[in-house]
């Protein structure tokens, strides 16, 4: 997707799903064939959509799905903040913590014990809570993105509709403040 010779450098977009369910990314895909229109004006950098794992340059827009549940989420979000001009919290988990934040009123030890030891459907003959260098440490609670880094725009919804995402993106890329009609804003 890199720029062909002679073509004007297109602005880049990066997306990521942190403590989310990828539902917001599915909603991005729901813009259907309009993704072709989008591809004409932007280039995707790091994103699950093109499976690029690293940033390949500075991005005009970063889209973040999900809040921060573990230390890796925090690192990734901070990298997004460093590399993106405009950072968008996409969906309810990013803007408010969402479903994962339901654990916020329960002590972390209790969450892990229920998930790995005491839960009614748990099969864990070794009786150990997984702990490996490769597994990022959980945070004390799930944080919405704006409590970790400065967020420029919030797009609520679970998920936000494709219409809302497309309108917001074209607005941002057109350098105008996205004007989302009331019907497109849903807080679930």
């Amino acid at each position: 997707m890199s720029a062909r010779p002679g073509e004007r450098q297109k602005p880049k977009i990066a997306t990521v799903s942190l403590a989310g369910c990828f539902g917001c990314h599915m909603s991005i895909l729901d813009i259907d064939e309009r993704i072709l229109d989008l591809a004409k004006v932007v280039e995707f950098s790091r994103s699950p959509i093109n499976d690029l794992k690293k940033f390949d340059g500075r991005c005009a827009v970063g889209i973040v799905e999900g809040g921060c549940a573990n230390e890796e989420n925090v690192e990734v979000l901070r990298e997004f903040r460093r590399k993106c001009d405009i950072l968008v919290s996409l969906g309810d988990c990013a803007t408010m913590g969402g479903i994962p934040a339901l654990r916020n009123s329960i002590p972390l030890s209790e969450c892990l014990e229920t998930a790995y030891l005491d839960g009614p459907t748990v099969v864990n003959p070794l009786g150990r809570i997984p702990s490996d260098e490769e597994i990022p440490l959980l945070l004390d609670k799930v944080y919405p993105c704006h409590e970790i880094v400065k967020i420029d725009l919030f797009l609520p919804g679970c998920p936000p509709s494709a219409e809302a995402i497309f309108s917001a993106l074209t607005g941002i890329l057109g350098k105008s403040r996205p004007d989302l009609p009331y019907e497109l804003l849903k807080y679930d």
């Binding site: 903040r81 950072l87 002590p107 260098e133 959980l138 945070l139």
Partner: protein
């Protein structure tokens, strides 16, 4: 044992007519008798009175003087607010705690003594203070704390802690409190010489409409803080139809820093009751209720005696003597420690035996108030003014003060000044003059009107005390040089977060959010954007909260942001990379590190500037 409980609860319920609207009295009596309103007692109360079980539980859980689990035989309630903190609350609390061997909120192992903190108990002029059961103890020191504990261990009788009585009626045998009036300036109206019975006989010589006209001509406005014209309120209540109408004297003085009603009830109860009687005559009510805050329970026997005396003098009862005799009597309704009950519709809920959730308006209390009848709720000070107006005439009253704010105002001055106490000043008096009188001229900030009022800076000390400028229910807290502004704001927010009834989200969540933001800023982890966010949140709370508590809860933040901006600006800083300075990864992973026994890969290597 359960038979004792059952027979006692039965007796208590019967003594209040088994009336579910008297749940407050029933619950208070059960609490006094058993040290708690246990689930079994709630079952019984519900069964006997017919009140739904959930309403009994809801009531008990709401008021801070009621509890479902047992408290000690003696409960020490330390007054914890900013003024008490400035005068050594923390030291005194530590002394109590050490001497008793328990922390705040705990009870000694022998079940004898509980130690608790409570919001302002109306003794800011003699802080630090506490209530030992109903007995106020003032000007506490660490030594005094140890003496109190030693005394209680010996005799368990709070009344014996009173070694010397205060001045005036505080020494009355039915009061015998060590509280001092600290009446520093007596004005020409409220504290003027009274001629007992004169106001009532003057009123009864007129028609009710003429009485209302007199109050209107005096341009009397409510003294509780909101400043609604009293005559207009009465007129509405008079015009409303209802078989039973009511007059309620609001003595639920809960705004931290006010204590004027304490002094009025101690020294001028006749003026208060006369005002209620006149209001009853004016609107056509036969029944009056004085809603007395739980913190002032020590005044109750005395007030009951004053009422009894008025009955035998023909100033209350089936035939109030005068040209147009009419029937009017007053009962005292005790509160149980809830700030929001000072709001008139929450007060009505409380009077009817429910938790103090404010009501939706309309209908206004003057149309549909206590038990659905048209009800006038007036502040104790307003009622004293009514009596004066009927005593001396509206013209004499209105010649004091300013055009829009006639008469005088009682100010409760506390904090960093040499002469804390009560000052009766004419409306229109500049704040600087009040500070001069109280000898607190070097103040850097003054909170006018309690936490829900405004925090003003030196440049505004020329502003005047009146409804048009610095409106206040009477609380004036003085903060001298060297006091920490954010600590003050934080204490006020803590108060609102505690007292929010939780019914509506803007108030319940807003107070908690603001509290957290102020903590963050005070800890040096705030950003300039936080200030804008606090302002926005505060305005949302103002616009969207259900009652006055939520609508004013953000005032400490909103007014200090305007008047003390440089203090905030100096504390906040932008992060160069756009990271939130309030988030600390080290702290956030600490628990997981402990649980997993391994160190975070990312924490601890954060760049400088955050730690």
């Amino acid at each position: 044992m359960s038979e004792t409980l059952e027979s006692t609860v039965r007796r208590i319920c019967r003594s209040h007519g088994g009336d579910p609207t008297r749940l407050m009295d029933i619950a208070r009596d059960v609490q006094d008798r058993f040290g708690c309103v246990a689930p079994a007692a709630m079952d019984l109360i519900s069964r006997i009175t017919g009140a739904p079980r959930v309403e009994v539980e809801s009531l008990v859980s709401f008021y801070s003087f009621l509890s479902r689990s047992p408290k000690g035989q003696v409960v020490i309630r330390l007054c914890d607010d900013i003024i008490d903190r400035m005068h050594g609350y923390h030291r005194v609390a530590r002394a109590f705690s050490e001497e008793l061997g328990i922390g705040l909120g705990e009870t000694t192992a022998d079940g004898k003594i509980s130690l608790e903190r409570t919001a302002c108990i109306g003794l800011s002029d003699q802080a630090p203070a506490a209530l030992v059961n109903e007995v106020p103890v003032t000007e506490l020191s660490t030594d005094r704390a140890r003496e109190i504990v030693a005394g209680l261990r010996e005799h368990m009788d709070p009344r014996r802690l009173v070694t010397r009585s205060g001045d005036g009626q505080n020494a009355h045998p039915l009061v015998r409190a060590m509280v001092r009036n600290n009446l520093r300036q007596v004005g020409p109206l409220v504290f003027s010489e009274q001629v007992r019975g004169k106001a009532i006989s003057n009123a009864l010589a007129m028609s009710p409409a003429e009485v209302i006209r007199a109050v209107k001509n005096a341009r009397l406005r409510g003294r509780g803080g909101a400043g609604f014209p009293a005559g207009m309120k009465w007129e509405y209540a008079r015009a409303s139809t209802g078989e039973r109408k009511f007059v309620i004297g609001n003595a639920d003085e809960g705004e931290p820093g006010t204590f004027k009603d304490r002094v009025l009830l101690t020294e001028l109860p006749d003026r208060v009751f006369a005002g209620m009687t006149i209001a009853g005559y004016a609107i056509g009510a036969k029944e009056g209720i004085l809603y007395l805050r739980g913190e002032y329970a020590y005044l109750r026997p005395y007030l009951e005696a004053v009422l009894a005396q008025r009955r035998s003098d023909g100033l209350l009862g089936p035939k109030v003597a005068g040209k147009n005799p009419f029937a009017f009597d007053i009962r005292i309704q005790m509160g149980a420690g809830a700030y929001v009950c000072g709001e008139e519709s929450a007060l009505l809920e409380s009077c009817e035996g429910r938790r103090g959730d404010p009501r939706n308006r309309p209908p206004f209390p003057a149309q549909k108030g206590y038990l659905g009848g048209p009800t006038v709720v007036n502040n104790v000070e307003t009622l004293c003014c009514v009596t004066k107006i009927l005593e001396a005439g509206p013209a004499e009253f209105a010649q004091h003060g300013s055009t829009g704010s006639t008469g005088t105002k009682l100010l409760s001055v506390s904090g960093d000044c040499r002469l804390p106490g009560i000052y009766e000043v004419p409306f229109g008096t500049p704040l600087a003059e009040v500070l001069r009188l109280a000898q607190g001229e070097d103040a850097f900030a003054v909170q006018v009107g309690g936490p829900s009022g405004q925090l003003v800076s030196r440049t505004e000390f020329t502003r005047t005390i009146d409804y048009e400028n610095l409106a206040t229910g009477g609380s004036i807290m003085v903060f001298g040089p060297g006091r920490n502004l954010l600590e003050i704001v934080h204490a006020f927010l803590e108060f609102f977060a505690d007292e929010s009834c939780g019914y509506c989200t803007p108030c319940r969540a807003g107070t908690a959010f603001l509290l957290r933001m102020v903590e963050r800023i005070a800890a040096g982890r705030g950003e300039p954007a936080d200030l804008a966010r606090m302002e926005e949140l505060g305005l949302t709370m103002k616009a969207a909260s259900r009652c006055g508590l939520g609508q004013t809860a953000a005032n400490p933040v909103l007014t200090s942001l305007v008047n003390f901006r440089p203090v905030y600006d100096a504390l906040v800083k932008e992060d160069p990379e756009g990271f939130r300075r309030s988030f600390e990864l080290d702290k956030a992973v600490m628990e997981a590190e402990l649980l997993s026994g391994r160190r975070s890969k990312h924490a601890g290597i954060e760049k400088g500037g955050h730690r």
